[in-house]
Symmetry: C2
Subunit: 424 residues, 2 copies
């Protein structure tokens, strides 16, 4: 669907945003019970409307070729009764999480008797831009409403029919549960220009969360007039220390690199202390060869592994998202830390060591959203860290860092009660 | 002092920022003891160097006329032994506050044995732009270093000699206390263009805090490539409800409007329920007349107070910072809430009421950094709310809302310990 003129498109985007703002005022006052009833009702209805959703999904699959989707992408787009059941399960899990809204974060009574509480409240309106996986539609809507926010969903055009079907079911459930239907709106046009219009509407939209390729995210950051929660890329490191269990390191490096290559917390660059390089790198090279991983190394790595491609300076900051690993040999722990802080993307970095002092120094000085000791970088993920549900990962330092779940979609206000207090 | 060419200025700003970044890496690892010893040492040395500081301040006062400073501004610029004692006292108070760095905000052990902690860490480098009050120089430096951050101070040119003298003393104390001297740097040029250069250096600067007039802050927001912590203005409201103690309301409104007019938490606009308007407004009008406050009112206000100037639509969103108050009469609580959310600056808004349900509804639905029941808006202030020290007030929703103290200058990282955990 397209909306004829640019003027019409601008006013459509404004209307969606202002309706979201109105809905957000009502959502802020809803009880946890009402929101949870809605989540469970959505889960039930998605399951009982499986045929209807599968039929809508079929419309997307029928034209997937025209969008040039790969087989893997088509597979992620596909909805089956089992996958719809998983989406419903996800919504029930969100219902079971504690309600972040209204939490009294802290408080005190001042010497003059004034009572201060810092109370958690919703952000307001979230504009969410995401890739073409229809399960994300239900997930993001559930997380937003549970945290008391209205959400404007801008999904990939490749999944528009599937997402529309899911949103219509969730909106109908909203009406019946006493949740404002405009709390969840899908942008009903696939025109690229719509995003630009929304990014100007900071009077109604409090936060934009873009997910997808780095160029999309850079465009959003450049154009947005409201805050952006994001990560550009995940150039994640593992540093294998002088004192480390090399068999353990081998397993963890293999897992971080190979278990799933196309994700932001996959390993992209390995740093190895020279004292263990001669023993570790040949073992690793053999292991990675079985996964068809290409190694790009510095001079010392190439001395130990002569067949390795030389790493260019550019390699140190690359996020490959595929079967390539860069390797650098360092003389000291501090050199490793410096390399990671300089070239990494402050997303997820790990150390393999049995030396407590080294672990503590690494954890203190590596400036990343998650720093990990003796475990795979793949654990930096909302559900793995215990947040329950996640709408994205942030490498920003302000507001939220790392996985963003319900609480990261809230702010707080100071609530002050007095008895006619005046300032002297 | 000026730095001749634009190229030189750019490289000067880059050097200051990159040195601040290096210092911030060291500051992040300092113990609370070291930071507190430095704060106390700074306090002692500022007091023992009173003559030197007063002499530097004299240089600023000598040219204050040339900058067109008002008498009130000249008074705020002036340093006396008493005022230097107050600055020292402020630093000792910061030393006595808990260290935010290293606080474990929360944590858990996952079912697989992975240990997760969310640990508070410094932001890194803060660029602080502020007005010409030399006491702010010491205060901001103390808050930044105590929270583990390096700070680049860009003070008003009117106080450059005073600020330089204070910073030199604090830097000398740093060297002797094991704190990196580049943790506190004063921008050593008064050229306006320097600000623009710093705002581009997001690779080294994590946050900019601008204080001052709205046009300065808008310029910073437009040019900054890093996050900005700020408030544009404070169009603060008091709503006098249908059921309220009118004598108490009178005292609180008078305090909020008159106790200090030029500050962001002063009252600018009053909203009154029509059931009490006929009784309350004449009392108020008389009271405000004794302070020479001009009232600008809507039609109903003017019916009750015929001499009042009519309020234009523009008046509802004005921050007067002076002896003017706008007044509107409403029919319902919800109309008051809607007026405040639409026209206010989401800074500080208060209700005067004895009705618990009204208080709770106002507190929930008014979307401001601080919502106050039966007390003056003037209480939205770091020390009044118990934060101990404040570097600014934020009306943003992301990261920090309301007064910003030590904790608001920190972020967190996830620290994860495993025993060779891999993801399956």
């Amino acid at each position: 669907m397209t909306i004829s003129t640019d003027n019409n498109l601008a006013s459509y985007c404004a209307e969606v945003s202002s309706r979201a703002r109105d809905a957000s005022r009502l959502l802020a006052g809803l009880s946890g019970d009402v929101k949870n009833q809605w989540l469970v009702e959505c889960a039930n209805r998605l399951e009982s409307h499986t045929e209807q959703i599968v039929a809508a999904n079929r419309q997307d699959l029928d034209v997937a070729d025209q969008y040039g989707l790969t087989d893997a992408e088509i597979d992620r787009l596909r909805l089956t009764p089992t996958r719809i059941g998983q989406i419903a399960k996800g919504l029930r899990e969100i219902a079971s999480l504690p309600d972040p809204v209204g939490e009294v974060i802290e408080g005190s009574t001042r010497p003059n008797g004034l009572q201060i509480s810092k109370v958690r409240v919703p952000l307001g309106v979230i504009f969410f831009i995401y890739e073409s996986r229809p399960n994300v539609t239900a997930d993001a809507a559930g997380i937003a409403v549970k945290s008391g926010n209205a959400i404007i969903l801008r999904g990939g055009k490749e999944a528009i029919h599937s997402s529309r079907s899911i949103v219509e079911i969730m909106q109908a459930a909203a009406v019946d549960c006493g949740v404002p239907a405009d709390g969840v709106q899908l942008v009903n046009t696939t025109e690229r220009e719509a995003v630009g219009h929304f990014l100007k509407l900071s009077q109604w939209i409090d936060l934009v969360i873009p997910r997808g390729g780095e160029s999309l995210i850079r465009r959003v950051v450049a154009e947005a007039t409201m805050p952006v929660l994001k990560h550009y890329d995940g150039n994640c490191h593992i540093y294998v220390d002088r004192l480390s269990d090399l068999a353990m390191s081998l397993r963890v490096v293999e897992n971080a690199k190979c278990q799933r290559m196309g994700v932001c917390n996959a390993l992209e660059s390995l740093v190895v202390h020279r004292d263990v390089a001669a023993e570790f790198l040949p073992m690793l090279s053999e292991q990675l060869a079985s996964h068809q991983i290409e190694i790009r190394g510095d001079d010392e790595t190439r001395r130990l592994l002569p067949d390795v491609v030389p790493a260019t300076p550019d390699d140190w900051s690359r996020e490959y998202l595929g079967p390539i690993l860069s390797i650098r040999v360092v003389e000291t722990l501090d050199q490793a830390i410096e390399h990671i802080n300089l070239h990494g993307s402050h997303h997820t970095d790990a150390i393999m060591t049995s030396d407590l002092a080294a672990a503590r120094r690494f954890v203190t000085l590596v400036d990343s959203a998650a720093v990990i000791v003796n475990a795979s970088t793949r654990f930096n993920d909302g559900s793995q860290l215990g947040l329950g549900a996640e709408i994205g990962i942030s490498t920003d330092k302000l507001h939220a860092r790392g996985p963003c779940g319900l609480r990261e979609l809230t702010t707080y206000k100071y609530v002050v009660y007095g008895d006619g207090h005046v300032r002297s």
